[in-house]
């Protein structure tokens, strides 16, 4: 018998067998199937078609993966993950997150003047960023996988147990670390990068006991943005070619990671 395909009931049958219906509508179709053997037979035939098509795909699938397809897939992953930096869609998300979590910081954070007023360790961070972060050959002493030694050394020198913050959530991977001995004291210098190899410097220093704590501050030095703050025991500085909002979002992520929040 001819079945009218534009019949709403017919659409409902299709939707039922593809699992597209909410439970109560699905129940109604099931009830209908008990009194409509023709509809029940159609459903059975369509389900069988689906099963056969899936089996055909299984049977046709070559066992060996294609190398070029794999390479193209990796390249696409690179391209898509690059969209995290500096792209309006992503930036809006970060901006929204920052407004939610650190409005206080930004509202009260002062724009520090450039140059001599930056704390010494922040000036060191800016210098280290310009020297090492852009170095494509040997930016770090300790690559990410052997950072434990650097962390032990830094923990001993800084008198604090240091944890290397994970910035995976922001698409930033640790490249590695360096230990710096400077006029501002021993410093742990970390480099992160995103999928497009944009580099971020993170510097951790001992907080001078005679100095007061201070909240998050932003500064611009040359073409980089610097964010720095103190948690009372340790001082932190971030340097990257990034917007104020991005730096604030990264700082927020670091404090959240370090305090386990």
């Amino acid at each position: 018998m001819h079945r009218d395909i534009e019949d709403p009931d017919e659409h409902e049958l299709q939707a039922y067998l593809d699992g597209q219906l909410p439970p109560e509508e699905a129940a109604r179709v099931e009830e209908r199937l008990t009194r409509d053997p023709e509809a029940a037979a159609a459903i059975e035939a369509f389900l069988e078609q689906k099963a056969l098509i899936r089996e055909a795909a299984d049977a046709l699938e070559p066992s060996a993966a294609d190398l070029r397809t794999a390479a193209l897939t990796r390249k696409l992953a690179d391209r898509l993950s690059r969209r995290r930096w500096g792209v309006p869609g992503w930036l809006k998300q970060v901006a929204a997150a920052v407004v939610l979590v650190s409005a206080g910081w930004l509202a009260h954070g002062q724009y520090a003047a450039m140059g001599p007023q930056l704390p010494d360790y922040v000036a060191e961070a800016v210098g280290a960023h310009s020297v090492f972060a852009e170095d494509r050959y040997r930016p770090v002493e300790f690559p990410a996988e052997s950072s434990d030694a650097a962390v032990q050394w830094a923990s001993a020198k800084l008198g604090q147990e240091i944890i290397i913050p994970s910035l995976d959530a922001l698409g930033l991977e640790l490249v590695g670390s360096r230990l710096l001995g400077t006029a501002a004291g021993p410093l742990l210098y970390l480099i992160y990068e995103d999928a497009a190899e944009n580099r971020l410097s993170v510097l951790v220093a001992q907080h001078p006991p005679d100095q007061p704590d201070y909240a998050f501050r932003l500064a611009s030095v040359a073409d980089t943005t610097v964010g720095y703050w103190s948690d009372g025991a340790l001082d932190y500085a971030l340097v990257a070619k990034a917007s104020d909002l991005q730096i604030a979002a990264i700082a927020e992520e670091i404090t959240a990671t370090l305090t386990g929040m």
Binding site: Q14, G19, P62, T69
Partner: protein, 168 residues
């Protein structure tokens, strides 16, 4: 989302694209070409993907456009079809014939009906997403799916009758 996470997702989606292309083209070489063509177009169009958007729907959409432009170029579907490889695990001859039959029956359908049937069979996708992936309005998608399935059922039914007659 980190690159590794994206890559995991992409690998899953590419496996889906390949299965779908295999059933559509029935030719391993054509299917791989089609998937690679789609990936190249996706790389070039990476900026059109909105982070947080549905990556799978976006990729299937690109594959479709690639497939359609490929069809236009070739005008005629290639006749060289691979035979199904010997089943490794199950040696169920009847099932094997049925699988061959469904592929042959799909072949007789118009392209516009074949695509929604195969997509919905292989990918767990909402109708709305599937319509988006195929670039047609939801209503059009649903009538093509329904019509196609009816036609497929009829073709498969006729094949069975023919087979029965041969057996008797």
């Amino acid at each position: 989302m980190a690159r590794s996470e994206l890559l995991d997702q992409l690998n899953g989606h590419v496996a889906g694209l390949r299965r779908y292309a295999l059933v559509l083209t029935r030719n391993a070489h054509d299917a791989e070409d089609l998937v690679q063509d789609a990936l190249i177009k996706a790389i070039a169009a990476a900026d059109t993907w909105q982070p947080g958007g549905d990556l799978r729907v976006w990729l299937f959409r690109i594959l479709h456009n690639a497939f359609i432009s490929d069809l236009r170029k070739k005008k005629v579907r290639r006749e060289a079809r691979i035979a199904l490889p010997e089943p490794v695990v199950q040696d169920d001859q009847t099932r094997r014939i049925e699988v061959q039959q469904v592929l042959a029956a799909l072949e007789q359908l118009p392209e516009a009906q074949r695509r929604p049937i195969v997509l919905v069979a292989l990918e767990e996708m909402s109708y709305a997403d599937a319509a988006k992936a195929l670039g047609v309005p939801l209503g059009t998608f649903m009538s093509r799916l329904g019509r196609g399935r009816q036609a497929l059922r009829q073709i498969l039914g006729e094949m069975k009758v023919t087979k029965l007659r041969l057996v008797i």
